[in-house]
Subunit: 428 residues, 2 copies
């Protein structure tokens, strides 16, 4: 038998899992600081839920892993965390609103495999249901900002408003049947540039006059947020989207968020967004993908639930893979292959080493020790292979003197110190 | 469309998820203190891996959720975390040994549903591969003891050794073809009592003489570990298992573990255990299930890998469901439905409240606030429903005086205090 992981899946070894766990722990901490509660939904959903007309749409159904249980019920593995969230809202109509929840969990898509793209991957979603106020949208800017600050990553949060974008297209005179296509082209502005957008709009047979207006409106992205607001405000009749954007930026300022940039071309595809949209990018452009993205979707849950009224919702999703990759890039060289901080090598002194290990562990030091009695050289090789930072070598002599040899595996420095001092040394 | 969760699965709402997350965080902390590293394997495995002769066996295959990907590859959802672990070992022969890993993750079994038994559930596994020494077994006793101490649960760790159990059956003269059946009966001693065991052995047609010896050997469980060791030692010729048990208990003492009890009837089924076996139970018997269990399995991975030699391994698994249930039972009344510590009600003062919320969040207080402008009564009802402990009510007057009204929702007490003081008050 040739053993292998299933196509499109992978094992995540400690060196990567340690980084991912750290990112997840910080996400969790920040989500909770902002009042979001943890919710868990099953990986398996009834196929009917996943394939609902108002769920993810027909394209995504091609990528759903489907299966049947022993009683031939048709099931599927969830392809996102939003549809299960909408199901929970639908099944629990008496739930207190606003309902703020987060879920950091796996999803599955049986789609094309590319570099860094897997069929089983994580999503980190944080959403609130039941608040119309744009203040809730602004809270996500604050949350994202706090998260990336904690990770010491310099990012910009690009924001737009779908109503504002629609009003700009109306102003440009784009025929209504061409507006969605025009939005898709504008959404690529950062990638293909203004000439690329012009070319696409020409191919899509948007009238020349409208193209000219679009170019004059959208070829201005370097101005400040206030300049942009003023400039587009001077053109527009329908100011609903503009006013929402003004309020968003005001609230963001009250939240103390500084790294927000209005990008009037941003659309986030044709998905279900109805108001604010946002995307987070690294300032140094070392990674081209967004680290997080989201927006307001006031229609999707109402439609899914079968309600005649909107059910307001805002949320965002963080990219665990891409964020972990960035952290690994930045920590080059200092990467950990093991959680172990101190490794003890007993030289015929196992019972005493067990006691010392117990003491270190009780003080919060991640400690491991050799039970096999192998040689110092073999033990040091083992520690080097795992990038364990400190090794403690303890023979009879050391026990008599009450001092152990602590070797710093990075600097090579060796010290004879009391067990009590080891903690200070390691914590430095 | 009637929305529902898939049969045998469930949503886990914040009130339960908060407790489970706490248990998982402590497991993770303890596993890492003991030098175990996080490893993640995919939920989807090739069907061939799961159905391997040396994996979980034919019984479990009836409960595997099977599916095919778009290219008709046969896959299955993993039914445990041990088979994937063995696969990782097999696929990475150059991996540094000992390899200490933990995995806290979901598994799936399409089996009968009972109260508290689901088809999608969590396992919390911690294992080491590559150490023959019984000291490694003792380390799990220390780890389990530290974990339950941290949770403030009084438990006893029952231990036995399969070699010791086998030698006792040999001594009792049980014919070799009846030994496995006899072990299964003895394994139930705690549940069915000595008379129940006798009855089962009679039904299984174990010779009367052997039954009499078994009864005299096993009807003694209340003596101290040393007494038990001495007593069984006086009978046995083959002392290998006995000596391993002696070493285990000695090492456990060096680790400072006090709550270990030798139970010579313990077997942990006929599974793959080859030496030490262990089970953890609450001392107050408020829950009948084991909270954790495990042992040494020196054959299973070698067989799976196709090695002619043993690959020594020890590990244990903690029951997230049962442990979370115990925590919930113990914290009756004080259960949290929300992570939020302070909820701010603005009375026409949203911009200032946003600033105050940001300050509290920056100080590590989980904070939420009302953006809808609903009434104080509605807000207080909302907070009561979620068991939020503190509410801060801020109107224009409060802002002028620089003091806010902090209401303790549990005692009903109200105080006017500075924002700076809120943190001390909440942290009390």
């Amino acid at each position: 038998m040739e053993l292998d992981t299933a196509k499109g899946t992978r094992d995540i070894f400690p060196e990567d899992k340690i980084v991912r766990d750290k990112v997840v722990a910080i996400l969790k901490e920040i989500f909770e600081l902002y009042g979001f509660n943890p919710l868990e939904t099953p990986a398996l959903e009834n196929y009917e839920t996943l394939s609902s007309k108002y769920a993810g749409g027909s394209e995504i159904m091609k990528e759903v892993y489907t299966l049947e249980d022993n009683a031939s019920r048709k099931l599927g593995l969830r392809y996102d965390l939003t549809v299960p969230f909408a199901r929970v809202i639908a099944m629990n109509p008496s739930m207190k609103k606003p309902f703020k929840r987060y879920q950091i969990d796996k999803v599955w898509r049986d789609g094309p495999i590319k570099l860094g793209r897997y069929r089983e991957f994580w999503q980190c979603d944080v959403d609130v249901v039941g608040i119309k106020s744009v203040a809730a949208d602004a809270e996500f800017l604050a949350l994202a900002s706090a998260f990336f600050k904690k990770l010491e990553l310099d990012v910009t949060i690009y924001v737009n408003n779908r109503k504002l974008l629609n009003s700009l297209l109306e102003f440009s005179g784009v025929p209504s049947e061409k507006q969605e296509e025009a939005i898709l082209s504008l959404d690529k502005l950062k990638k293909i540039g203004i000439d690329g957008v012009r070319k696409e709009l020409e191919e899509k047979e948007v009238p020349d006059e409208s193209i000219a207006k679009i170019i004059s409106l959208f070829d201005y992205n370097s101005s400040s947020n206030n300049e942009t607001l003023e400039r587009v405000g001077s053109f527009l009749e329908n100011k609903e989207g503009l006013n929402e954007m003004k309020e968003l930026l005001e609230r963001a300022e009250e939240f103390g968020v500084k790294n927000v940039k209005l990008d009037i071309s941003l659309a986030r595809g044709l998905a279900y967004y109805t108001g604010t949209v946002l995307e987070v990018f690294l300032n140094d452009n070392s990674i081209a993908s967004a680290l997080g993205a989201g927006g307001r979707y006031d229609k999707m849950i109402g439609n899914f639930v079968g309600s005649s009224e909107d059910i307001p919702a805002v949320g965002m999703s963080f990219g665990l893979d891409v964020i972990s990759d960035v952290i690994k890039l930045k920590s080059k060289g200092a990467q950990k292959n093991s959680v172990v901080e101190v490794y003890i090598i007993p030289l015929g002194t196992l019972p005493d080493c067990i006691k010392i290990a117990s003491e270190l562990r009780s003080k919060g030091i991640n400690t491991d020790l050799d039970y096999s009695g192998r040689s110092i050289t073999k033990n040091l090789n083992y520690c080097n292979g795992l990038n364990i930072p400190y090794v403690l070598i303890i023979g009879e002599d050391e026990l008599k003197k009450g001092q152990s040899k602590l070797k710093n595996m990075i600097t090579g420095e060796e010290k004879f110190i009391n067990v009590e001092k080891i903690i200070d040394e390691v914590r430095k």
